[in-house]
Symmetry: C2
Subunit: 159 residues, 2 copies
DNA sequence: CCGAGTGCTTACGTTAACGTCAACAGACTG
DNA sequence: CAGTCTGTTGACGTTAACGTAAGCACTCGG
């Protein structure tokens, strides 16, 4: 267990890796996470995380053979899981993730295209939301009907 | 093609089945549908519909060996597909469908229980909806950022 | 130096949700 | 009466999304 914490810290903080080699202080964007750390945080298996990587949804750097995730990776993982919770396939999630990239350099044409894709994605999500709202409405109806039946039963019984 | 329409009608309307045998006019709840009819209407395959039946989500009566679906079946099929669109598994859909049943006879205890289940289902759906709204928000952010970048590019170019 | 703990890769197994294919039955249609 | 259409029942194939297991590497505390 002690080794556990140490190991995790070793992956998380390069400064405790090989002393001297990683002395260059990267200005921003530090904070690396280990795979178990992320797995625990999000309540999923290591296997699942590696699977997402196989599918190209994550691309952690390698430190000493082990995977090291940045904050950005962490955010992406969150988006992946949220996408799944929303009922999207990993392929769809990948598609949406591509809309978040570092397109700071893209040509205007490409950026326009991206905006279009985002609009599409938003419309699909909206459709999904409407479906959910329809189901919620139906369930509310069913519930109301049940409760009316219940009220009748109770009234009869009281008499 | 003519045979098609005739066949479909034969399944849909018992009066053109075996003349004389089906002369008793059922008061309400007529209108039967054939499997291809439903498949076309909902844009799914026959195989899928039969599959849902295997899974216990549909239980059409049999007329002459063929499946005959009532309006109620049609509604259920709609719910199934909507459930799927919402990201539910068939098992979850089945669970929800059970909340719509003809519980006109149930004991008050059971009806109470049902109301509870419905509430649960509604809460889960609400969670899903919130997730979708979060994604929509994220996408809107991404879009806004893109558009600002675009505006800058255009302004520079105009100069 | 060794065993525990963590991680990596490879490969095979599994479940859900169908699709595809084959072979066949009944009923019109011409 | 042969052909076409619609429908039925298996059996097998497929894709997605992992789970499980095996075997090896590394690293740290004792």
């Amino acid at each position: 267990m002690k080794a556990n914490a140490n190991r995790a810290a070793a992956v998380a903080r390069p400064r405790s890796g090989i002393p001297g080699t990683q002395s260059a202080p990267v200005p921003t964007e530090n904070e690396l996470y280990g795979i178990t750390e992320l797995a625990r945080e999000f309540g999923i298996s290591l296997r699942a995380i590696r699977f997402y990587e196989d599918k190209g949804l994550l691309a952690p750097r390698r430190i000493n053979g082990g995977r090291a995730y940045t904050r950005r990776d962490r955010v992406r993982l969150g988006l992946i899981l949220r996408g799944k919770a929303v009922g999207m396939s990993l392929a769809e999630v990948e598609h949406i993730l591509s809309l978040y990239g570092d397109h700071g350099e893209g040509h205007a044409k490409q950026l326009d295209y991206l905006v279009g894709r985002i609009d599409e994605a938003m419309q699909e999500l909206d459709t999904r939301r409407r479906n959910i709202e329809a189901m919620l409405g139906d369930l509310a109806d069913a519930k109301g009907q049940l409760q009316r039946t219940l009220a009748l039963k109770r009234r009869v019984r009281k008499k």
